[in-house]
């Protein structure tokens, strides 16, 4: 039975932009598992109620409904052990958890740059929900939140120093070939370029070159998706 993935979409149903769903999509591709992706909007909570919560990714495998990108990655690893490993062994799996958690922090670090661009691109029916929920989270209007974002860019880029140094020393976080640690950290950067024309990374930044190597993987899966050339 084909797996189904509820995948966050903008007004344009082909513009998929969840940082967490992208992790799952690359994990599925890594395991060469076909998947039917279903465009899903923030307010379509009822459609994923069977997962017991209201956020994507939600993966449906037969009668199993799974949520949380980290749990989904572990499910895929355990359920399809004969396919290419996402973690590179038991130690690798534990070592990957920090990457996933660190990448969650990257989503928060990138949000001040793209928040208003998201608002402009979400489906009409999602707009009020997105504004209200995010303004509650950040404690101000999204317009105020993103004001002067250019000035915040140098500090954001400095914050990527360890990532940059690592990716200067080796092509992927997992070494010569990418594993889930790469996909987890890639998610936030793919989110940004799918939903915002703001140039987060300089063209020659080793972090951007690594991101671009991942765009090319799996037949260009992540590159083919509607996005901005930044």
């Amino acid at each position: 039975m084909t797996l189904r993935l509820y995948d966050l979409a903008a007004a344009d149903p082909d513009r998929r932009f969840s940082p967490y769903c992208w992790r799952t999509r690359l994990a599925l591709a890594h395991k060469a598992l076909p998947v039917e992706t279903i465009p899903w909007r923030f307010t379509e909570k009822a459609e994923i109620a069977a997962s017991g919560q209201g956020f994507v990714p939600v993966l449906v495998d037969g009668d199993r409904w799974l949520s949380d990108s980290w749990k989904i990655a572990n499910y895929l690893e355990d359920t399809f052990p004969d396919r290419p490993s996402l973690f590179g062994g038991a130690a690798g799996r534990s070592l990957t958890r920090y990457y996933s958690t660190f990448a969650d922090g990257l989503v928060a670090a990138i949000f001040p740059f793209v928040a208003l661009d998201i608002l402009e691109r979400v489906a009409d029916k999602d707009r009020d929900y997105f504004r209200a929920s995010r303004e509650k989270r950040v404690g101000m209007t999204l317009e105020t939140f993103v004001a002067g974002r250019e000035a915040k860019l140098p500090a954001f880029r400095v914050g990527l120093t360890a990532l940059r140094r690592t990716l200067t020393a080796q092509p992927f976080l997992a070494g010569d070939e990418p594993l889930y640690a790469d996909y987890a950290v890639f998610g936030p950067f793919q989110w940004a370029r799918c939903i915002s024309p703001f140039e987060l990374l300089e063209k020659d930044d080793p972090v951007r070159l690594w991101r671009d190597r991942l765009l090319d993987r799996f037949g260009g899966l992540a590159r083919k998706s509607p996005a901005y050339d930044v």
Copy 2:
């Protein structure tokens, strides 16, 4: 032949405080390799000249002189493959590099809290060198650099969020048992408590509890070293 490690010491030769040397000491303990540690001061460059550079850790294995904690860890893994692995496999080794690089950044993040405490505890002959080299690096006097350090503490602790969340979910970065990724990140925290009475981590911080679990490893190797109870 017993391995020898040049190990940064304060005025008190038993107070060993290099974040990078601590990584190596735990890596050697992990591989159950006996080592003779040699107290070394910042200005004793001549003693380690055979390593081709002027910083510790320097590990001497017969006629081989090795420097750079990451290179030393890889040397130990490759030279003693039958002893417990530091990385947990090939993917684990690559995945560990980021931890090492991230931990280098932690040293820089912790330095504003402990810089003056180091100055007060280094050997007399190191004092001028330490002040001059560090003041050049930070662009101000060490007194100015550490002024108001309490005010910087909340942001430092927030910066450990991903580490904290990971160590709430599992006992060590590498899972149920520590590997080199743990030792690499432990180094900066051990450095701080060995040289400074400043309380960097709250008592119930999961990061501190993890640090304390590592203090207990290898017969309390890191706990027995002169340090402050913070």
